[in-house]
Each structure stands twice: as structure tokens, then as C-alpha cells.
Chain length 757, copies 2
Amino acid sequence: VSSSDAESPIVLAPSAAARPIGAKELRVLGEVGSHWSDAVGERGDWVDALPVDPGLVPRHPRELSPTRFGRFARLDPGQVEASVAASVGESLAAQVAHRLRGLVLGPPLASTAVVQERMRKLIALPVLSSDALSSVAYGPEALMVVLVLGGSGALGLSLPIAAALVVLMIAVGLSYRQTVRAYPRGGGSYIVASDGLGHLPGLFAAAGLMLDYILTVAVSVASGVAAVTSAVPSLHDEAVPIGLAVIALLLAGNLRGVRQSGFMFAAPTYLFLVAMLALIVTGLFDAAGRGFEPSPAPAIPAAEGAGLFLALRAFGSGATAMTGIEAISDGIPAFRSVEWRNARTTLTVMITLLVATFAGTMLLVHLEGVVPVSSETMLSQLGHHAFGTGPMYVYLQVATALVLLFAANTAFSDFPRLLFFLARDSNAPHAFLHMGDRLAFTHGLTLLAVVAGVLFVGFGGSTEALIPLFAVGVFLAFTLSQAGMVAHWLRTRKRGWRRSLTFNAVGCALSALVFLVVGATKFTEGAWVVALLIPSIVLMLLATHRHYGRVRKATALRTPPRNPKRGAIVPHGAGARQPLVAEAEEAPDQLQPLCVVPVSELDLPNLRALAYAASLRQPTLAVHVCPDPQDTERFLAEWKAWGDHLPLEIISSPYRALVPPLAHYIRALRSQKPELTITVVMSDLEVPHLWQRPLHERSGERIRRALRSEPNTVITVVPFHLASTSVGADGPPRHAADGTQKSRPPADDRDPALVDY
Amino acid sequence: VSSSDAESPIVLAPSAAARPIGAKELRVLGEVGSHWSDAVGERGDWVDALPVDPGLVPRHPRELSPTRFGRFARLDPGQVEASVAASVGESLAAQVAHRLRGLVLGPPLASTAVVQERMRKLIALPVLSSDALSSVAYGPEALMVVLVLGGSGALGLSLPIAAALVVLMIAVGLSYRQTVRAYPRGGGSYIVASDGLGHLPGLFAAAGLMLDYILTVAVSVASGVAAVTSAVPSLHDEAVPIGLAVIALLLAGNLRGVRQSGFMFAAPTYLFLVAMLALIVTGLFDAAGRGFEPSPAPAIPAAEGAGLFLALRAFGSGATAMTGIEAISDGIPAFRSVEWRNARTTLTVMITLLVATFAGTMLLVHLEGVVPVSSETMLSQLGHHAFGTGPMYVYLQVATALVLLFAANTAFSDFPRLLFFLARDSNAPHAFLHMGDRLAFTHGLTLLAVVAGVLFVGFGGSTEALIPLFAVGVFLAFTLSQAGMVAHWLRTRKRGWRRSLTFNAVGCALSALVFLVVGATKFTEGAWVVALLIPSIVLMLLATHRHYGRVRKATALRTPPRNPKRGAIVPHGAGARQPLVAEAEEAPDQLQPLCVVPVSELDLPNLRALAYAASLRQPTLAVHVCPDPQDTERFLAEWKAWGDHLPLEIISSPYRALVPPLAHYIRALRSQKPELTITVVMSDLEVPHLWQRPLHERSGERIRRALRSEPNTVITVVPFHLASTSVGADGPPRHAADGTQKSRPPADDRDPALVDY
């Protein structure tokens, strides 16, 4: 949980999750290290023993630099820097993928290219409020869709409900003004709720927000596509593919890491605002010509009673117009100095614009007698009423579609950042900490696009069906965020805290009310899904947090014991079981090694594994698992012919199993001496082509899997590459030490797997 | 390729593929070993160094034997034997699978349970000829189905075509009598063709036979199901599921490894023979009552002209009645002594019975005027004519269904054996050499069942559609087998070779004729599939053979070089590339080691990897890949606090990649000294639950994959188990050497992955 008052902006880098080095930990490290001192001797000896120069400096003038491909640059002594070329896999597939990504996403960016963007208010306003302002495109419609269920008689409720929403907008806006002041480094709901209320409420706020972002993408895209299909009805059947293409485009654009500031991102919001202003003014003029007499709405039969319940449901649906309000409090670091002050001004302007466009739209809807129909959005109907089918109408629709697209884009920048914060606090997989090669949070972006895409397709690209899911998560996050602010003021009691607390408390109470209303009235329509999802997400986050906590505890360094009796034999108790040895940070001289080499036959790969094992100079035991009794003699004869240099044990396996007997045998060995560190040295034949894999047993892989859960069992694989050796298979081995044999055609060191033989 | 005259039966054990130890290879082994002598010192020292007893003898009276679960029995010194318990994996999944298999398939059988079954002629006849005799159930029908295309006028051709087929049967039968004598150890088409004609013809024969066996299963099951649905028409729509169930049953039965001899397996064939005899005799009596006047067949309009082409096609379809003839020559070792003589007598009896039932059936078809209809088999129609709907009819249908089932079973015993021989000669994956725990060739059986099942479903369970695919493969194998015999006689010129050669040559010529006729006339009906499949299979077998040959060559031991200059520096040429070092059987003292330890942070798992690496006493270099420049300092501070015991190189990775820079760095190190054996020592965190895997980077796995193609790069994984260490995570490490700390609850040594924490 971050502290709220440090003035430096929050760093979005993987190191954010690294635990700070405490004095205690450094002390433990020192103690562990002092234990090593007598074990490993002088560091200088180790440096002298290195057969190569780790700094990659060529030792011979004729020798070409190992960095000849420009893969590494030398920095300070003890440091080299990897270039782009060294950051791409060696395989052909990796290289091709790298090229393709480069074409689509642009060349990789170095970490130093991260810049904190600073925006003028005039840019920040449209960029950060496209989500909130674009909600006007679907909020009023969502409200009216519910209201018409009550028939023509219920339409009269639209203005009072709109008035209530305006009050709510102002209250929440005032409340967020306090947040901006209190969290000048940026205060998203997750941070504020965690900080003020604790871990669990923070996770609930995060879960609500995650759903909110996902639904923002789905609803904004659905709504934007509806703006297009309202203008061009022939595209109506293509809504789902168009929407998916838009989501894919948003994903690609965000993976490319486009800059959020700049005129291009500001334009759509202003275009939309101008269009809305023109619409409302034209509409009001028309209405003024009629003496503000409302046009009669078409007669609609009542599907249900126009009671309080209907009004509350309409209110809940209309509340979706408030989504996106928190974007500014989230993005404070993006403002120019003094950040929080500029952000607060921008917030006020945004709320004003939101109230104006929302109230204006609702008024027009009332005056023009417009009701929702399935083939055309209400905004499009109002446009037709005001502008006919001329260029102004087209402009309105284009601006609406654009602003909705950019609203979805807001979610694409906020969702990965939320996951970053969750991962930083070990609530979400640490993979979400990593930035891809374009400095975008690849995993979070992809997750958002996939889930939103599935949701969009699952609901048939319909705004209406998605709305009931929407508001619950938003208002849960609003409520918790503002409750967190209340707690914050009560705790800090900074100057002016009473006034701020009042604003926040009102905002919190109203948000909580809306949350309850929406949850209750929309429960059967879809809110139950959210009611299941949010706790499930919270449980997943909690389980993740718990797991990381345990891992950190288990892997943390501990003070080594005072006087370990080296090599002392463990007295075996009466029970059949011995305690497992903890895999602790033994100093090198404390390890009690045993090398086990499974040998299937005495061929080149296996002899190489034996040679490697013997070169380790640990106690070594060769093991031959023999499924065929008639084969034992042949193997023993070969072993004797070779010279019987190492201890050999034959495991006869009359049931023809190969891997389980070996695993059990290693367990049996360990049960004699539990403190052993057993190294299993295996040869592994690497074939150059995929189709050749099934032709070999790959028992190495199976042994590795069987021994994965064995404590203190080190697996060592000595590879044998077919491609690089079969070339000279006829002649004597080409020892590089033998200077006379270097005329062989130069082997490509790029990828032996690609060398065809 | 096996020699033909050894009298011992062919052993069906994996060791059959092991190359015999040649004197030259033993000499090479000795030379390699002598090279080791000075490198590794006395064997006795190695034995004394072992910290455990490889024979698993407890060293202390109070110590419990490591074989306490009955997992190992001690044999001679240097050998232990794995019990059933030690042949089953340790994991819960493996244990459950083992129990389930035990229920379905019975307990595992030891290799010593393989017995060569010996059968009396009276048992061998029905067991080995169920495939051939049951062909009468679909051969005549296949013939007539083609003939009726020519309309009623063409039906008169049925008797001449049948007569030609009888001649063919006798010729092929006489030809196989020669094979039986020449190959007393068993002479399947693959063996005979390989032996007589060479590798490629052998593979063609094998490919033809493989198709034959697969089609036998599909056709026999389809035909058996047709016998059932003819009697019980209400089951007609369930033909495909019934057939699949039968195939599954056959697979399960064969995986269980049921004995092929015994009355149960003999009964169906005899029942069927009795039924056919009764049918033919009754039918001829009826016909005699009419003065052998044929009943008029229903008038059928001609779909095409009744010319030579139609007759040839009908002949080709009818030839499917000859499938299964080679079973006896294949199964000679199963006869009692003198095997080949008994087999030859049995073959003669079988051919006689086949000719009798086939000719009788065709005669009845002609006399009764029966023609094929889709809802009822011809045999069922003949049964109705002869027996009405009484018990004799039911008996006929049951016997037919049973014999067809057992005919399919013949394919289940022959197909895996063919694959075994192919694998023994390295033409097929060596996996087909292995017997499962019930001594059945699991892989071959499963392959057959799956392919036949797919084929059966793909053709909708219809015999008619499968027939055109059938005969081509069979007659290809017949032709090649008999051509192989001709070559055999020409080469060996044993007593009576001229007569045998004549029989084989006639059989071969006729078979070749039929092969060409069938291939040509059925080409468009489906034989083209076979014409594509057989060469494809042969190409696969050839590629496999070629691959194994190269592997054997590449992995064979080579005489070590005379005077390797140890440690001599390779002069670097002017070119940018250096030759790769062959991964040869260096003696342990020839390895030039370097240990590289990627360290992500200084926690317990990584320190353990460092300790392990340092304990190897090889030149060691720690490497820290740092994607975040701000993190470098923190890491360096920790490294210094620990004591800076080992050389450390920091790879700054501004493009945030972790694995590729490491792989490139290791390549750059190697390019300084190509003869290095680089050991990459990595820690790996093993989490107990599957869902926890995505929470960790598992960079170990990725590093392993990235370095897989690197020559001379050994991968060593030092595991760190969460489950077994987190228990005592708070206290000091529980060194087993510290005798005071053994009161901790006994850890279950069964499977730490199952221990919940």
C-alpha cells in the first residue's frame, strides 16, 4: 500500500515490486556471506580461474570481438548492456516474430524512453474526460429504454430522474475534488480504498474497477458501432465484426504504445462537445419556436407498472452516464505543475460540461418526444430532428463514434495500470509488472482486449444488454473510494478536513445508495453476474496475495545456524520417516553431494554424460535400468570392455517401466542419508526437427518430471546435438584443441537446430 | 533383416533392436576406457567415496531398509530388481491410473511371463484362419454388388468369376505352402519381401499389410455389425456406435493380453464353418428338389454396360475373400513341432475349406437368384431362404458376427507384431518395440484401434465403401511376398527349389495380375487413396530408417585421438566463425568447464544455486540480467553485503528482455573459447499447485528452451520446493546434520507436491 504524501510520481517499472533492502536483511546477507568466506576462499582466485573474459573484451588483436553483431556494449567494469539484437530470441521463429512485431508495433523502445507525459489543461481535459463525456451518448438512452417499459405515462418521469442524476454528478464531482487534493500522486479507487480502508476494501474497489474498464470497452465500442449503424443502416448486421475489428485496432494501437497527449487525442472530445452544443442549441431554438411545447411521444403500451421500482431502475441505468469520472483523479501526475491544482480545475470543468450535455440531452429528449428504437440511437434521432440528414447530422454521428472509440481507449490505458498496481502489491501475477518492448503493459492490454471481446460477442454487440452489468462495479468503486477518503480525512485531519470530509461523505452516501439501488433493481437483469464476479475476482486476488506472501517468506534468507556439524550422520529415529532437509542456503562446503548417472547404453551421449559427471569429482554412481533381462549381460560386457571405471548399479525392471524405478531408487538412496544433494546427470539427444521427436524416448524429460517434486535433487542435462555432430560423424572427433582440424566448413553459430543435415 | 534359417523362434522383446556387440566396437570401448584410466583413477576410490550403499542394504540394525515398501529386491551384487510398486509413478495421478488399469486390464505381468504359445492343429486352424474363412461373409457380396450394376444380364458372369477366384485361391495357397517350408521361423510378407527383394520392396509389402490390417478391422467390424442389423433391423441406425464399441472392446481385450489359443478362440470359426456347411447343404438339397433350376433373380436395370471392365471390377471386389491367407505363414512358431510341417498341413486344410465355402456360397447365390440389397446381407438372405426365420437362421447370423469379430482380432495380434518387426529394423519408431505392463504392444494396438475407428466412422460403417480400398494393399503384399520367395529360391537353390519356384512364380504372377486389375478398375472408387497412402507410408518408414541410421552413426563411439593437447588455445582464424566443437566422449579431464549462474535476486533459491555451483569447484561466473536500470544498484548493494564471493557480471537489458540476452551472452562467452563446456546452473521454484504456476515467471524453463540448441551447454536445475520448506519457514534452516532439530512433524516422503501447505 503506497503512502499518500510523497511528491514523486509513481514509477511504473517492474522494480516497483522489489522489496526495499532493509537493514535486517542486509545483516542476514552478511551473516550468510561470512559463512561462505571459509568455504569458497578468495574472490580473486575465482576471477583468475575464469577461462573467458566476462566483459567480452577480445584478448587477441586478431580475435574478433564477441560483440561483433553489436549485441553487447561494454559499460562499467562488470557490466555489459544488451542491444536490441541481443533481446530477441535466436530461433528463426523468434526472429520472424520480432520482424512482424516491428512492422506492426514499431521498433522496441529502451526503458529510458519512458517519459512522464505532462499535459496542458486544454489537452488534459479532452484526453482524460473522453470516457466521462462520451457516456452522454449512451446514458440517456439507457435511462429511456427502461422508462418506456412503463408506457407513455412513465415518460414524464424522465426529467425528475435526470435532475436526480445531475445532483449525483455534482456531489460525486465535489467529492473527487477532495481526492485530487489529498492524493496529488494520483489516487485511483484501488489506491484510495486500500490506503483508507485496508487491503480487502481495496481489492473490492479494484475488482469493481476491473469490471468497469472491461465493460467500458464493450459498451463504448457497442455504442460507437451503433452510432455508425444508425447513420448507415445497411451495416446493421455487421455490428459484431466491426466492433471486434475496433477492439483489435485499439489493442494494436495501445501495444504500439501511442502517446496519449497531443492534438489527435484531444480532437474527438472537442468535436463531440461542439456537436452536442450545436444539437442542444438547435433543438432548444426549435422548441422555443413551438413555445417549448413538447412534441407528443409516440403512444407506447405499458409493459409494466410505472411505479417507484421502474423509476429506480431507470435511474440506475442512467447512472452509467457517470462512468469515467474518476479518470482525472487517477491521472494527476500527467498534469503540469501544480498538478493537483490543475487537475482540480479540469475536474470542475469536466463535471460542468458533463452536467450541461447530459441535462441538455435529457431536455431535448423530453421536448422532441423521442423514444428509444432498436434500429437507431436516440442521439441519431435527435440529430435527424435538428439537422435533417445534412452534413451536420453526419458530423454528429462521426464525432459520437470517435469519442466513444477514445473512451474505450481510456480503459486501455487505465486497466493495465490498475493491474500494475495490483501486481506491485502482489495481488495480481507479477507478469503484469512487465512492460513489453514498446513500453506498454502487454499482458494487461491483451487480457482487457480478450475479455472485452468475448463479452462483446457474447452479448451480441448490444449496448442495452450490457448496461445492467455496468453500473454496479462503477458505483462499488466510487463508494469504496469515497469511503476511503472519509477514513483518510478522519486519520490525517489536515487543514480543512471537515469540509472535505463532508463532501466525501455525501458523495459516498449517494454512491452507496446508487450502488444498492442498481444492484437490487438490476439483480435479475444481469447484476447477479457482477455480484458473483466481484467476489470471485477478490478471492483470486487474495489467493494470489497469499501465495506471494508465502513464497517471499519461504525464499527469504535466514540467519545460518551457529555450529553446523559438517557431515555428521543423522541418527535414525524409530519411525519409518525421516524429516526432509530444508533446501536452505548451505555454504558450498556444507553440501553432501552424490551424482547419479542413468546410463541406457554406452554410446557417445551417455559416455559424455558419464565424463561430465566424473569431471565434477563428486561421489558418482552409474545406474542402468534394464527392462529386458537378456540385455543385462550385453550391457555388463560393454561396461567391462570400457573398463568399469565407475560404480555401477543395475536396476532390473521386470515390469518394463524405465522412469518410475529410477525415481524410486533415487528415493531409496536418499532415505539412507536424507541430507544428500543428489545430482542426476542425464544425456539428452537433441534432434534438429520436430517430427523426429516421437522417434526418441525423451526419457530425460520424463525423468525430470518424475523427480520434480524430490527435495534436494538437482537435474543436470548434458545435451547431445545431432545436427552439429553428424556432419563429421565418420571421422575422428574434432577436438578444437587439435589445431590441425579446423578446415571443416564453418558451422553457422546462429542456430544449429536450423542446420539441415 | 532376419536370416531365414535359424531355428530359434523370433524373440518379441525390445532387446531385439539392440545392436550386437561387435569385436570392433568392444575394442573402441576399450580404447575410450583406457583414455579414462589416468583421468579418473582407481575404481575402488570411487566406490569408497559413495556416501550410500547402492545395493540398498541398511548399514545400521535400527535403520529401516529402504526397500521397506517392497519396492526393490536385492539380486546379485550390483543389481536390484524393481517390484510392481517401484514400476508405478509416485504421483497421485499415476497411482490412480495404475489402479484403474489394474481393474480393466489386470495386474502387470513380468517379462518372464512371455511364453511362446504352442497350438495343436485343431486349435491353430480356427485361430489362424478366422480372418481368411470369415472373408466369405463379405467377399461374395462385394463381388455381386459390382455385378448388379450391369443389370440382370450381368449376373450370369458370377459363376465364371467365382471359378477364376477359386483358381487364384488354390494358386496362392500352393505358393504359401512353399513359404511355410522356407521360413520355418515365420515368414510374413514384410520379412520375406525384405529378405528376398531388399529393403524398399519389404517396406512396400509392410505398407500394404498395414493398410490390410487396418481395413480388416474396419471391414470385419462393419460386416459383423451388418450381420447383426440384418437379423435385427431396428438396430440399423445404431451401426456406427455398435461398431465403435466393438473396436473399443477388441482394443481393451488385446491390451489385457488375452491368450490367443484355447477353445474359446477356436469355437467361432468352427461354429461358422458348421453354419456355412448347413447352409450350403440345405440350399443344394432345395435346389436339387427343383432340378437345380436357378430361381430367377429380380429384374435389375443395368446401370452400366456388362463388359470386361465390369467383370474385372467384380473379380477385384470378390478377391477380398482371399484376405487373411497369409496368417498361417506368419504364425508358424505357434505350431507344435515339427512346426512348418504342421503349419503346411493346416494351410492346405484352410485353403480347402475356403474354396469349399466360397464356391458353395457363390453357387447358392446363383441358384437362389439372390442379389445384394442395402438393408440385408446376402448371407442373411440365403439363410432366410434355407432356414426361414427359425433358430438355424439366428445361429447362422450369430456365428457370422462372431467369426468376423475374431477376424478383426487377428489383425489386432498381427498389426503390432508387424510394427515390432519394422521398429526392430529401425523403420518405425522404437516405441513400438515396447510391451506394456500386460506384455501387449500397447502403442501398436492403440494406433490400430484409432485409425480403424476413424476409418469406420469416416465411411459411415459401410462395408461396401471400404471394399475398394481393401484388396489393393493385400495383393501388393501377396505379390511382393511371393516375388520374394522366387528370389529366395533362385538364391538358395535348395532341394526341390524348381518346383517351389514354379508355384511361387505362378502365385506371384496371378497376384500381380489381380493387384493391377484391382488398382486399375477401382482407382476412381477409392483405390487412389491407397495409391497415395502406400507410398506415403513407405516414405515415412524410409525417413525414420534414415534418421535412426544417422543417430546411430552420430552416437557411435569413436576411437579417441592420439595426443590431444589439453587446454591448448585454438588459434582464431580470419573468418568470423569458428568450428563447433563436436560433443565427443571426452575423458573427464579433457572437459574445460565454466559455470554460469543466472541470479535474479539474492534470495534462498538463488543462493542455493550459487552454493551448488561453487561446490562444483569449477570456474564460476554469476550473471544478473537487469531489465530495470534503477534496480542494478539495489542488487549490487545486496551482492556486496553478501560478501562479493564470486565474479559477477551484470547484463543491463534496456529492452527488458530476460532470456534472450542471457542466451546471447553465453554464446558470446563461448565464442571466446569454443571448446568450453558451459554449465548453466539455475534455481527453479517448484510450486505445489498447478494454478500457482502462472504466478511465477518460470524463466528456468524458458532459459532451458533458449539454450537447447547450444552445443556443449549443460543445463543444471537446482530445485527449491515451496511445499517442503514453507513449513518451517520462520525458524532457522533445519539442517539434518544438526541433530537437535528433528522433532518437526514427519514430512511425508510420498509426494511433496501433494502436501498442502
